[in-house]
């Protein structure tokens, strides 16, 4: 990548694989379980977190020399809260149905561990540009898992992808349904999201043995 130095590009690429916020650091699990029943919701959630995390990281990084150490958590919370409210309002204005579907979970981005984690661990000690890249990278790593989980849950649970009936019509019995196939209701329940994430963790660690934790 000519655009980014090698060090900078690692900021984006690391969280996608070997330092993934969900599968390696095991942060942000709650929302990954709650809203991944539909691929569309996963994508919107991933984008929302990306906006909040990237902008928040830049803001925190700019203010890093101004914020007194003792009250930094409160300062961080205010910044996240402001950003989340903006995202929430934008969704309500332009994608009302979707925002109803995501309901409280957009608001709960505030409590997403990944965001506070990146503020604390990275933005407070790095310059804005690097913080921005770190935000994008971590949100992308988070979003990638969300989209993978959402893909499988929607495909196997509802037989659709982004609302399109890719496997045929379950009521008119076309496509796969004509052969007796049925949607897997378990996929729509949150426990299955946990199992899917577990399988991703399993596959990832068996491909890269260095990631396996010592007991």
């Amino acid at each position: 990548m000519a655009l980014l130095s090698k060090k900078d590009s690692r900021l984006i690429l690391d969280p996608l694989a070997d330092n993934n916020p969900i599968t390696i650091q095991v942060l942000g699990i709650c929302s990954a379980l709650a809203i991944t029943a539909q691929l569309k919701a996963s994508i919107v959630m991933a984008l929302s977190v990306m906006v909040v995390l990237a902008v928040g990281n830049v803001v925190i990084s700019l203010l890093r020399n101004v914020i007194p150490g003792k009250i930094r958590i409160i300062a961080q919370l205010i910044i996240v809260a402001a950003l989340v409210i903006i995202v929430d309002q934008v969704l309500k204005a332009f994608a009302y149905e979707l925002s109803k579907q995501l309901s409280v979970f957009i608001g709960l981005i505030i409590t997403n561990c990944i965001i506070m984690g990146r503020f604390e661990a990275f933005a407070l000690a790095n310059k804005p540009w690097r913080s921005f890249l770190d935000g994008i990278g971590n949100a992308a790593g988070y979003g990638l898992i969300l989209i993978i989980v959402g893909f499988f849950r929607e495909l196997l649970g509802s037989g659709t992808l982004l609302g399109f009936k890719v496997l045929g019509d379950p009521i008119a019995k076309t496509g796969l349904y004509a052969l007796g196939y049925e949607n897997n209701g378990f996929m729509l329940l949150s426990p299955m999201a946990l199992i899917v994430i577990g399988i991703i963790i399993w596959v990832q660690r068996s491909r890269n043995k260095e990631l396996i934790e010592e007991n």
């Binding site: 007796g180 196939y181 049925e182 897997n184 209701g185 378990f186 996929m187 329940l189 199992i195 577990g198 399993w202």
Partner: protein, 399 residues
């Protein structure tokens, strides 16, 4: 040259290759291996894992045979109600057997074929020996599913159950949850329309739904949950001439199997006994609530709560679950005191879930899975308690 020699030759030929575990398993499954351990001291006992598993399977065979006849009987009796007047006379007939075998045996074959397939693949990938763990699970699974479950669903569930329920934890002996119940729970949550309701328990009911000669095959629990009285006599329920999952209807044969397991010391009598007591206690509590008039007969819980407490043991899967599922030595508590607690809670919560969840009156699957998760915790506290007691004894002596 006998089969044994041939198998041995094959095993030697593939030794060290990828396929070695597969041939090794085939060889040891059919014959006693001719190698012995070379070092260390060993207890010589015929009671290995394979024999344990085979004993359980032997205890299950009567249930399977009964299930085969019952599948046919329920189908014909649903079409011609007069058959029910003389259940015993109309039960052991060739018609029943042929239809039953035609519907039940595919379940057995799919269960074993898919499950052992997954085990073999895992053994080859992970380069360990094929484990015997699936032998019992493979027999339990067909006995606890509705007769008309589509075979591909069963296959999907078996793959899920073996991989997520067992292999991810490290294979046989390491699993936390009972694999057979994991498979059933997966089926129940994934395909609820095939696992509950009044159309799945009798062969052909689903296909004939909506037609003038539609079959209704409500289970006893379903009927009671709907606050109506079941059409079957208590003796029918005890002998098992009722609709239900394939192999779990006959309380009589399950008791025989249970006694066999206790006699051979394969199944834990502590768990069975305490589970029965737990179920009876919960049933008595519910009966008491009804007697006190704390619940009105219009309530949706009334039907199940007012059922005499000991009936709960002969309806639904209670007996089957207590005898064959709760006693799984891997997932149950290991300590004797722990077994009492574990069994009691299974019975207690099984009846509680059965009564309070009208959408799904069969609670034993869930209560056993729940207690499977808690079994190590129970053991931990039992052991800690024991250590504390002994420490106290030491202190008293030294003081």
């Amino acid at each position: 040259m006998g089969l044994k020699q041939n198998l041995h030759k094959l095993k030697e030929k593939y030794k060290g290759t990828k396929m070695a575990p597969a041939f090794n398993a085939l060889h040891t499954f059919l014959y006693t291996p001719n190698e012995t351990t070379h070092s260390g001291s060993h207890v010589r006992s015929a009671d290995d894992l394979k024999r344990t598993m085979n004993t359980v399977i032997m205890a299950l065979i009567p249930c399977l045979i009964f299930g085969i006849f019952n599948a046919g009987y329920q189908h014909y009796a649903a079409i011609d109600n007069t058959l029910r007047l003389d259940p015993l006379g109309n039960f052991f007939t060739w018609d029943n057997f042929i239809l039953g075998a035609w519907t039940v045996l595919p379940l057995v074959i799919v269960s074993y074929g898919v499950g052992l397939g997954v085990e073999f693949i895992f053994a080859i990938i992970k380069k360990h020996e094929v484990e015997e763990g699936y032998l019992v699970t493979g027999m339990l699974v067909p006995l606890i599913v509705p007769i008309d479950i589509p075979l591909w669903m069963l296959a999907v569930a078996v793959i899920f159950g073996v991989i997520i329920g067992k292999e991810v934890f490290g294979g046989t002996g390491m699993n936390i949850l009972n694999p057979a119940l994991t498979i059933r729970a997966f089926l129940f949550f994934a395909y609820p329309t095939w696992m509950s309701g009044d159309k799945v328990w009798v062969h052909g009911a689903q296909a004939m739904a909506g037609q003038p000669d539609a079959i209704s095959g409500e289970t006893i629990l379903g009927t009671l949950a709907a606050n109506t009285h079941p059409a079957y006599s208590l003796w029918d329920m005890f002998w098992g001439f009722i609709p239900g999952s394939v192999g779990e209807t006959s309380t009589f044969l399950i008791i025989i199997g249970g006694l066999f397991l206790i006699f051979t010391k394969i199944g834990s009598w502590r768990i069975m006994l305490s589970a029965v007591v737990g179920a009876l206690v919960m049933g008595l509590i519910f009966n008491g609530v009804v007697d006190q008039g704390w619940i009105e007969d219009g309530s949706k819980f009334y039907g199940l709560m007012s059922e005499p407490f000991w009936h709960h043991l002969i309806i639904g899967s209670a007996a089957f679950a207590i005898v064959y599922m709760a006693t799984d030595p891997v997932t149950a508590s290991q300590t004797n005191k722990g077994k009492w607690i574990y069994g009691f809670l299974i019975g207690f919560m099984g009846i509680m879930i059965r009564v309070f969840n009208p959408a799904y009156p069969e609670g034993f699957m869930l209560s056993i899975l729940l207690l499977n998760v808690f079994a190590p915790t129970i053991d931990h506290y039992v052991i800690q308690g024991n250590i504390k007691k002994r420490m106290k004894r030491i202190k008293v002596k030294t003081a």
